[in-house]
Symmetry: C2
Subunit: 403 residues, 2 copies
């Protein structure tokens, strides 16, 4: 099983390509929770996620012959970029198989980091099959995304940095997809400070580790569904499960709404961008998914920042909606002069800021000449939304809340 | 005129409430420009902008009697939050007048930092008149947002930090709204290293300092229009203009599109959120608004991160559009079975990812039964958009590019 020595040995190797990321005390989240919250900003890692640590350690521990033959892997996400940059920094040739529908930005980034990208297959499984074909045909080493001791050891260097930068830490929260990150971090921490708590966090829609812990054996999910695509994994690894069982104190889950709110808070208050997988730990803290004492020193690891900007705009809207800071309403205006003006006056009196109005006379469910109106409004919170709805209904508007 | 000693004297005072913000080398922007780019991440400052520095220095240099009488100011933005937190940290009572339409999030933040918020007037000028009324009636000190030596000196501590953290700096780029920030920074830098270049950057839609430099006298603009609301100022100050004339090497401007692209790059590549005013310096570098040599050490100061999240979603879309990463098209489908399917096949063959489709049979400009279709597409860049449009037109579609 993975040992502290593995992680310690990884440290110097990882320092060749990855940066020691900042640990930042957060006034905002400390005052929101009552805990002492220090954010591990691994989203500022090169390539935008922790994956470069494990990939570097794996590639640097290959034999000269293995390095000369090159590496291969399959990934549509952060692992692709991590392997690409790690390999080119070490001077090793890399091929990365990505599914044909992989986001354009990720394909481009992976190529820019120096890998040859092979687009193949409709999904990850087909891409992985192709990568294993290449492994055999070309004698390349397959770099697994998580179920590999050298990969886990590389990710574990984050645990060493947390202990160095915050020796008073009580609890570290870590996202779990395949389990490589938490296996490394828990190994680094528990071997030195068994009393520091390590909490694993998963998305409700991809709870492979949580289920496996309950069942006492590895559980493979039929399907996963979450905005945190970086941890939308159907099963944790065999090697990672063994470590998690022994060294992780508890595994909790958070809902997509909670993840969206955490992403939004981090943007708005900490001016920092994380992806879904990077936000689950803070989401768990804010949602009370694990217990903590007042003034407990909690370190949520924000493990990545590679969120597609189209998705981000959707997430921001969801986060604002969940906070009552944004609402979309539909109502019907009667066909007479001044009807829209009257509605707008009500909104102004209630201090709801109009962000967009869509006016449609063609809906089939309304009277001839009447118009359906959709309103996007900026609001001050859930109480403000309730008051606004009550006022509109008092004045005879039939109002439907769309989001 | 403001002196280096003023800035040096401000340093310890400012350290009481503000943080020494990070200076981060950027691989991404260095390789994009050929310069050595270090970002001054003042968007991570407490309250989300540099304003707390100047406010702290101003409030801490008041006499005991003045402190006991409290302070007042008018602001709809970052200055409000800066004064609020600075005052409460020093134990001074503060009243902030904000226009009635001020964004809800800013009102809330200002209250949370401990100020009494007075909502008054339709715009900044009316709010400022009210604040001066309060100044006279209550004997409070009015804290000007920029045209005040103690305020400028506080902002200048950023210049000291840049020299400490990057002694090899060649060029510092600084946003100009009222001019307080650049007056302080230029004073700190030029007095010690006259050969370090200080470049001022404004939005094209609010070029008060650029016009003033051309005219050789302070020019007041009739109107301003830019997404960088933090520097949408009609006139720079008298005291700041005197400093800028003497100590700033050049003043350049950037377009809103360039600002939006810079915000988008900073999010996507550096995982950090800046507001429009915080992005103008990087925008100027990327757009080549000022000259620089290969390997020149350039420090764009990212002076704030308080962007409204609704505005941010709009900016992201604009940034993606400007990069050819997102496009909205309109075309007309004939009234026959399979017409939409054919169109979708073309898009799939061209590897354009469909983000949204809107289908409308009610447009007045098309044949009875034909349908107008609006397509939101994720694309790979401007060349990809051009190729896609050519292919669609080849196949007989009349295509209009909407954004």
């Amino acid at each position: 099983m993975l040992s502290l020595d593995d992680v310690l040995a990884a440290r110097d190797r990882v320092a060749e390509t990855a940066r020691h990321t900042p640990l930042d005390y957060s006034h905002t989240f400390s005052s929101m929770t009552g805990a002492e919250v220090h954010l591990k900003l691994e989203n500022f890692q090169r390539t935008g996620s922790f994956k470069i640590r494990g990939a570097t350690n794996r590639i640097m521990t290959l034999s000269d012959a293995e390095q000369a033959a090159g590496v291969v892997t399959a990934s549509a996400g952060n692992h692709a970029q991590g392997v690409a940059l790690a390999a080119s920094r070490v001077g090793v040739d890399s091929k990365i198989v990505m599914p044909e529908n992989a986001p354009i930005s990720k394909v481009k980034a992976t190529r820019n980091y120096g890998a040859e990208v092979v687009l193949h297959g409709a999904d990850y499984d087909e891409a992985a099959a192709k990568a294993h074909e290449i492994e055999r045909a070309e004698g390349r080493t397959y770099v697994h995304a998580f179920d590999d001791d050298m990969v886990m050891a590389g990710q574990g260097t984050i645990g060493l940095e947390i202990l160095d930068d915050c020796p008073e830490v009580d609890t570290v929260a870590v996202a779990i997809g395949g389990g490589g990150l938490i296996s490394g971090i828990a190994t680094a921490i528990k071997a030195q400070h068994p009393d520091v708590r390590v909490v694993g966090v998963q998305a409700e829609g991809a709870p492979s580790a949580a289920r496996s812990m309950e069942a006492g054996e590895r559980v493979e999910l039929d399907r996963v569904d979450t905005i945190a695509d970086g941890i939308a994994t159907r099963a944790i690894g065999e090697r990672t499960f063994a470590v998690i069982r022994e060294r992780v104190d508890e595994v909790v889950t958070v809902a997509d709404e909670e993840i969206a709110m955490a992403i939004t808070y981090l943007l708005e208050r900490s001016k920092t961008l994380v992806e879904g997988a990077g936000a689950v730990t803070l989401a768990a803290l804010l949602a009370g998914a694990f217990d903590y004492e007042a003034d407990e020193v909690v370190v949520p690891c924000l493990c990545g920042g590679n969120i597609d900007l189209n998705l981000l705009t959707t997430v921001i809207m969801r986060g604002l909606v969940a906070n009552g800071r944004y609402v979309r309403l539909r109502t019907v205006l009667q066909d007479r002069p001044g009807a829209l003006e009257e509605l707008v006056e009500v909104l102004a009196a209630e201090r709801a800021n109009i962000y967009a109005i869509q006016h449609d006379r063609t809906s089939r469910n309304i009277g001839m000449g009447d118009a359906e109106v959709e309103l996007d409004l900026e609001t001050r919170g859930t109480e403000h939304v309730e008051a606004l709805l009550a006022e509109l209904r008092d004045r005879g508007y039939e109002v439907e809340v769309l989001v």
